[in-house]
Structures are given as C-alpha cells and as structure tokens.
C-alpha cells in the first residue's frame, strides 16, 4: 500500500500542474488586460497599469509567470492582493469558517442520508421507502440556491426561527441551516446510494449465513449488512468533501458567510485575480487530496481491494 500511495502522489503532480496552469492562464490571460477596468469609468493611467503589471509580473512571458507562481506557492508566499492586503491574512480569517461549514454539512449528509437510506432499503416498497424516494427526487431537482433562498425565506423571514444571515462569528448553531442547504444535494444522493447498496447486500449469501448463525436481527443488520453496504457510501461522502468546499461559494453568498467561498466570490466580482488564483489552487489541492485519501480509505474498508 505504501508504494501505491507514493505512485498516486506522483500521479497527482501532473494533474495539479495542469489545473493550476489552466487557472493561471484563464484568469490572467483570457480577460485581456486585468488592470484596464480598475479606475472606475475612466481608463486607467498608463503609469498605474504599468506599475501594477510590473508588480504582479504580467510583463513577463506566461511560462515565467507560472514558474514564479509555483515558486511562491511552494515557499508559502501567497502575496498581496490589489489592495496590498496579504492574501494569507484573508485566507486565515475565512478558512476556519468554511471548514466548520463543510464538516457540519458532511455530518448532516451522513446522519440523515445514511439513516433515510437504511430505513428505506430495509423496507423496500414501504411508506418510508416511498417517502424517501420522492423527497430525494425533489432535493435532487432543486438547485442549491433555490433550497437556500427557500429556507432563508421560510425559516428566517416568515417563521423567524433563525437569522436570515449569519454573523461574523459564524457559530455552529448559526451555520446549521446553511450547512443543511449545502448538504441537501449530496444528502439526497447519499440516501439513494445507501438504499441501493442495502438492497443489493440484503440478497447476499453472507446475510443468510449470519441469520443461520443464530445472530439477532439487529446484529445481522447492524454489523454484517451495514459494514458491507456502507463502503460505497463512505467513499462517496469522502469524494464530495472537496467539492463541498468549492460548492460553498453559493451557500456562503446566500447567507452572507465570510468563508472561502465568499472571499473567492467577492474577488471574482472585484476582478482581484491575486486572490482568485491561490484560493482556487488551494481548493483544487484539497479536492484532489481528499480524492486520494478516499481511494486509500477504500482499501481499508474493503479488504478485497488490492493496490498494485
């Protein structure tokens, strides 16, 4: 497994280089001159544009720029944004909030999604099963922002149970509703995946053996059936952690949460690419590493998988 891990890490490098180059290229080269529109209605003075171009290295060839970016990233130097605020500072403020939000969301996905999936899978065709099938279909069809606005309107404006927006502290209780919104899509899918997996495994011979061993129903389901059925579910949950953080852009926008997503979104609107590039690169890195971890986790969960 050690060798497999190393090989996978090595394979990660070209993908990481490719994605970060793509991000760099798209952000810096595609829009034409990134400084042209920065002085309100008037075109910017040449002196300002030239100074900025020099500071951010835009006067150099694309590959040199990319090389400098890599060098800075590897030495932990995230640079300053257009307003000369260190990007690392903004990140340090935003990062914990997004992590909290993502952890909450994964917990909601796991608890509700797996719970609903198990219940509906065990009693296929029952009332619960039909309810779960229907509600997951609805959740899968609601774009995240629709769910977000709906809950904000219902719980925040109409019923006034929660604040429609989240304060700067972003406490766990404030983040519950946003986390639910962020989780909604994956939660629905987790429920369906769990159901399918339970239904498939219920037919398996080893379940019959477990019953023949004289185990209680609870142990047959709770130990033998669940241990097998949850392998693909946990893998899915893990794979989606990285995507969840990136997806938080929309949820954070709706509830005015000052996390990574909010930071990135504001940076895009303000065309501040010095923030966009490192933050996006970071999100990609998190995404790729969680994927790798999940692959390794898969081997731990399922002894039949052998890494070569």
């Amino acid at each position: 497994m050690g060798r497999y891990t190393i090989r996978r890490l090595l394979q990660l490098i070209p993908v990481l280089l490719g994605t970060t180059f793509l991000i760099n290229y798209m952000v810096w080269q595609l829009p034409g001159d990134p400084f042209a529109g920065r002085c309100g209605q008037r075109p910017c003075p040449d002196a300002y544009v030239n100074a900025m171009r020099a500071q951010f290295g835009l006067d150099q060839p694309v590959l040199v720029q990319y090389w400098n970016f890599l060098k800075n990233m590897l030495t932990g130097n995230l640079g300053v944004d257009f307003n000369q605020v260190p990007v690392a500072t903004s990140l340090a403020d935003a990062w914990p909030i997004t992590i909290r939000l993502a952890i909450l969301a994964v917990a909601i996905e796991a608890v509700i999604g797996i719970g609903a999936g198990v219940l509906s899978g065990l009693k296929r065709g029952g009332v619960i099963d039909n309810a779960v099938t229907l509600s997951t279909l609805v959740l899968l069809s609601l774009p995240v922002f629709v769910t977000g606005f709906l809950l904000q309107w219902l719980l925040g404006v109409q019923l006034q149970i929660v604040n429609p927006t989240v304060s700067d502290e972003a406490t766990v209780s404030e983040l519950l509703v946003p986390a639910f919104v962020l989780a909604s899509l994956n939660m629905a899918f987790t429920a369906r995946l769990t159901r399918t997996s339970i239904v498939e495994n219920l037919r398996a011979d080893y379940v019959r053996t477990a019953i023949a061993k004289g185990l209680t129903n609870r142990r047959v389901v709770g130990v033998h059936l669940l241990r097998n059925s949850l392998i693909p579910v946990l893998t899915f949950l893990g794979t989606e952690v990285g995507g969840l953080m990136a997806g938080a852009i929309i949820t954070e926008g709706i509830f005015n949460i000052h996390g990574i997503g909010g930071l990135l979104y504001r940076a895009i609107i303000n065309q501040d690419f010095t923030i966009v590039v490192p933050v996006a690169a970071l999100l990609v890195l998190v995404y790729l590493i969680t994927n790798l971890l999940v692959d390794l986790l898969y081997g731990v969960l399922d002894p039949r998988i052998r890494y070569e």
């Binding site: 490719g18 774009p143 629709v146 606005f149 926008g253 979104y265 065309q271 990609v284 995404y287």
Partner: protein, 316 residues
C-alpha cells in the same frame, strides 16, 4: 441539481470512480430498445415527466400560447405588486409581469441546457470513443487531460472561467451571452461523458461480435459506427437526459452570481438574481421563476431515471 458531476453517480451507483456502465443485452440492440419501451410504457413517472417535458418545450417554442403580455413591458407603478387576478404571479421590481417573464424564461434555460448537453455529448463521445478504440498513447493523453479538467470542482471551474470572461465582453448580444455559457458548461462537463463512452466502448470492444467484425476486415469507422456507437448509446442517453436538467440548474446558478446569462436575455436565473435582495418584500418575484426552474430540472431528472430504470431493471 447544479453540479453535473453528481449526475454521473446517479447513473451507476457511484461506487467505482471509473466503473463501467452495464449495458444490458449488448448483442441485440433492437430488442434492448423494445424491452425498454415495454417497461417505460407501464411507468407512471415516465408519462408524468413526458407531459411536463412537452409543456416546457411548448413554453420554450411558443411562449405566446401561454401569455399575451410582453415580458419586457414595465410599469414602475406596479413594482413588486403581489399576485392578483390582473397579474397571476404579480409584478417584479421593474413592474414587469412575472408570469410572462417566467414563461418567456423557459426558452433560454432549455436552449442552454439542451445545446450544452449536445456539445458535451459530441466532445465527450468523440474523445471517449477515440480513446477506447485507439487505446495506447491517444487514450493516455485524453484520459490525462480529462483528469485535469475533473480536478477542478465544477462550480469553481465555472465561476473562474465565466467570472473572467463575462466582464470582458463589451455589450454582448443575446446569442454571444448564451454561446459563452453553453461553451463553458460543455468544456467543464465533457470528461465525464468521455469516461462513460470510453468504458462502454472498451466493454463492447471485447465482445465476440466486434472481434468477429474486425477479423472479417471491417474498417475502424465501420466498426465504430455500426457496432461500438449503438452500444455506448444507452448509458450516454441516460446520462445526457439527467445532464440537461443539471445544466439548466448550473446555468441558473451562474446567472444568479451575475456571470452566466445576463439581460437582455430573459431567464429564470436572472429573474431570481434580480430579486435576491428583496426576499422580505417581494418573494413572489423569486418564487415563481424558482419553482419553474426546479420543475424543469425535475422533469429531466425524472425522465432520465425512468429511462435508466427501464434500461437496467436490476437497479430497481
């Protein structure tokens, strides 16, 4: 659903990242389709989604069938008026009729969803079939490039590309705005389809009848078109139906962020974006477009699931 990468998991359980999609009764495509139809005919969900689909298509093609009002006619005096017998869905911020704008909004969303999906199928299908058929270095290159694109989370990728391109366009027309969104959706989505097509073709390639065709001296194009394409059709069809739904959701999401569709285009996403700040006073101006948007996504998701269940009965 605003993230098409999840739709990929919808079609095959999601347990294996590169898992092959099972193609039932690969040997006899015609009977496969007949079986599928027989199952579909008896499914309520199929008929419900079909009726909804036809309604939305009519809305997109002939909006004037549903409303005689002009979606762009604004009377500020009516601004944010709630639903009444005069205006079924009320008026928006500019005093335009929300019902008319919701009906007219179907066109842009459906065009973007369908066109982006077609482009995705084209891009992903061609690369996938080529990668599987020629294997070796071409496969390696296509697969690696696909990995790079999949390495960027979908929403993030969309925001980066659209966020940098969109503001750079000076006074674009409707066509350009839509074309850019379509292009971006497809560029981010093609690797998933490439993988589906690739694994379907690899599976089919080892079937005896394809080997036999090869041994009989059939050329590569004949094999691809006669044997391999029909085989990969089933999983691609299921995926792309669901994808239309998720692309419509994704377009609305980007429009909401101000980097997708923009005026003068009329779309559900724009209508919602225009009123996010007025959620306390004028929720109706957001609610109706959001409801239509969700129903439209639901239509395609249901249709896709019905087709998938019919094609692969063991999943039920």
């Amino acid at each position: 659903m605003s993230d098409p990468t999840v739709a990929q998991d919808l079609i095959h359980g999601g347990d294996e990242p590169t898992g092959a999609v099972t193609v039932t009764s690969t040997g006899r495509p015609r009977s496969l389709w007949r079986d599928t139809w027989d199952i579909l005919r008896h499914r309520k969900i199929f008929w419900v989604s079909l009726v909804m689909l036809i309604a939305f298509l009519l809305m997109a093609a002939f909006p004037s069938l549903f409303t005689h009002k002009d979606p762009n006619y604004a009377t500020l005096a009516h601004s944010m008026e709630p639903p009444s017998s005069d205006a079924l869905f009320g008026y928006d911020l500019q005093g335009r009729d929300v019902f008319a704008r919701t009906i007219y909004g179907a066109r842009a969303s459906i065009i973007v969803g369908v066109a982006a999906t077609l482009l995705t199928v084209l891009l992903g299908g061609i690369t996938g079939v080529l990668a599987a058929f020629y294997a070796r270095w071409l496969d390696a290159i296509i697969s690696r490039v696909g990995e790079i694109f999949l390495g960027v989370p979908y929403v993030l990728g969309g925001i980066i590309i659209l966020g940098t391109i969109a503001p750079a366009q000076t006074s674009p027309n409707e066509f350009t705005i839509m074309a850019v969104v379509i292009l971006v959706l497809a560029i981010l989505g093609w690797p998933i389809l490439m993988r589906i097509a690739r694994s379907a073709v690899i599976q089919a390639k080892h079937q005896d009848y394809v080997q036999a065709a090869r041994a009989l001296g059939a050329g590569p194009f004949r094999i691809i078109f006669k044997h391999l394409l029909p085989n990969s059709l089933a999983p691609i069809l299921v995926y792309s139906t669901i994808t239309i739904g998720s692309y419509i959701g994704a377009e609305a999401t980007f429009s909401l962020l101000g980097i997708g569709l923009r005026p003068p285009v009329i779309s559900w996403g724009i209508a919602i974006a225009d009123h996010t700040r007025y959620i306390r006073t004028g929720a109706h101006a957001m609610f109706f477009p959001a409801a239509f948007l969700s129903l439209c996504v639901l239509t395609f998701v249901m249709l896709g699931e019905a087709v998938r269940d019919a094609l692969d009965p063991k999943l039920r």
